[in-house]
Amino acid sequence: MMADPDARSRPAGAGDAGYTTTEEFMAAAIAREVRDGEQAAVGTISPIPAAGVLLAYWSHAPRVRPIIINSDEWWPFRLGSKEFYEFAQKGRLDLFFLSGGQIDRWGNLNTITVGDHERPKLRLPGGAGSAMLYYWAKRVVVFRMEHSPKIFVERVDCVTSPGTSPPSVTRPGGPQVVITPLCVFGFHEEERALRVESLHPGVSPEDLRARTGFPLAVSASTPVTPAPTPEQLELLRTRVRPALARIYPVFARSAFPVA
């Protein structure tokens, strides 16, 4: 049972087994992308990827090493973010998560300005390490908690982190999938573009087209994204929630119902 993709999470309810929050749905979709044995890192302001990685770790991927910034228990480094960045630049980072104020069809991410850079309509938080990590994490899952034509555009106003690079640039990694509250996009290597892989339950091709600012190949025969299993919901509500609350206390309270 899918929560309204328009709504942010609803208040935590007591153990309604038939009810899944958008956050839980996306955490489970993210967990599906985590492969066992990976060095999987989660950056700042990323509670859903953190939940997804921990869910994977506690279910199908017990040999994953979760690396979660701003946590003590999931931080294996002792020399700050410098050590983490160097770890990535050595090619050791298998999986990372990134987002963008705008995300375009070509996998380009914009985290700097929307509109004219000199007089922007919107000033975003900035690139941080994304213009390096997008190249050096072997696989990047791009995620976004909203899906609208202003976010998913044909071309970003500012290419903070490009989706692909020419052969003259050393680039071991890049985008693998893009996960939103409406669908999962795969990144098509040859076309170097996003393609719809699955629609979430209750989302029609027309809905998706109306909310996406670039053309889509999507139809009634497009697969449906699997919903979280009861086991995954149980794990999210009993194990992931308290672990996440130590890093994102406010988020964890509202996003996952008490089991």
Partner: protein, 165 residues
């Protein structure tokens, strides 16, 4: 300094001081950037001694910032003896050679947390976020927390953070 990634992004046009050169070892394109050399850095540590050695939270990257800066003002929750600083169980030491001045400022990171001292002051942070929405809304915040308290102890009292005994 060379950096990884970035080549082919809009950093090339937004930051003219970032240059793309050919890496002499691999022949690939590499971005080089001028180093950041702060004139002054302010860091806040867990403890410091009178030689300017400062025990810092490793996640703050102060051990990178301090040696790169021309001057460093280090505030610390506690000022302790050199021997005690060496025995403290947690922290990354920034050697005193990089530090210009040490200031005793308990509660100095408020409303953000300091390990083993105080937690994040979530209500205060929410108050700040609301106040920061406009100049008009921010003025009362500034008056109440910055301009009116006569000293740091006055600030701590106002935010309800008791300094350690």
């Amino acid at each position: 300094m060379p950096v990884r990634g970035h080549v082919g992004s809009d950093y090339e046009r937004l930051r003219p001081e970032f240059r793309v050169i050919q890496d002499p070892y691999s022949g690939t394109d590499v971005m080089i950037v001028p180093p950041i050399t702060p004139d002054v850095s302010l860091i806040h540590g867990l403890a410091a001694d009178e030689d300017g050695n400062v025990l810092t939270e490793e996640k703050e990257d102060d051990f990178v910032l301090a040696p790169a800066s021309r001057a460093v003002i280090a505030s610390a929750e506690r000022i302790v003896s050199h021997d005690e600083l060496r025995r403290l169980p947690y922290g990354l030491l920034v050697p005193g050679i990089h530090v210009t001045a040490v200031v005793h400022v308990p509660g100095g990171a408020h409303p953000t947390p300091v390990r083993d001292c105080y937690r994040l002051d979530e209500p205060h942070l929410l108050e700040y976020i609301e106040a920061a929405r406009s100049d008009a809304a921010f003025k009362p915040y500034l008056d109440r927390y910055v301009l009116e308290p006569p000293d740091h102890a006055g600030y701590l009292e106002r935010v309800g953070l008791r300094p350690p005994a």
